[in-house]
């Protein structure tokens, strides 16, 4: 899984800590999601996409295979 979180964070001039605080999770959780090492729940994915003003489909890219 790849994500566009880092790119969109940069667009809104947001740090991992800022995003984590807005969603109410720990910073490490954002770091692991960004690196594709943790697949978030539907609710968390929805919350992240809402804060980054995008859709879940645009934010998370699942590679085939």
């Amino acid at each position: 899984m790849r994500t566009r979180i880092k790119e969109l964070r940069a667009r809104y001039d947001m740090t991992q800590d800022d995003l984590a605080r807005k969603i109410g999770v720990r910073r490490e959780t954002i770091l692991f999601i960004e690196n594709g090492k943790y697949i978030p729940s539907l609710k968390l994915a929805h919350d992240i996409s809402k804060v980054l003003k995008t859709t879940m489909d645009e934010l998370f890219i699942f590679d085939k295979g």
């Binding site: 999770v25 720990r26 490490e28 959780t29 943790y38 968390l44």
Partner: protein, 142 residues
Amino acid sequence: MNEKARFWRFVGILVTVLVVGGSFAIVSVSGSAGNLWTLVPALILVIMAMIALVVARKKMKELKSGIPSEDERSSAIRMRAGYLAFFISLYFVLGMSFFHAMLEDNQVSSLPTSEWLMVYVAAMGSIFLALNAYLTRKGVPT
């Protein structure tokens, strides 16, 4: 449960464990003077208190800065660590039980079973903490 209540629940459990464990260690040491094995529970307790102090300080710092002490990833890690620690502990206790029985048969160990149980519980806790720390760094398989 909010963060503050969760922190004070942690402190409450910790104080209870340390008081009960401390009383047990005092009774155990005073009841059998000269037997160094009875110092094991006291030693475990000191180690537990030191670890707890570090964890409490970290939690207090996080509480003050508004970082949630738990989220869905940390819950997933805790559950995975608990699951793995349960099975590893089963094998550990089984292995140590044979070792304990062997020591008793050869009259090498004079540590009572209750003290051995404390060692087992401390080992289980340590396995859980080690797995928790490892999975926090490496991540849980999804």
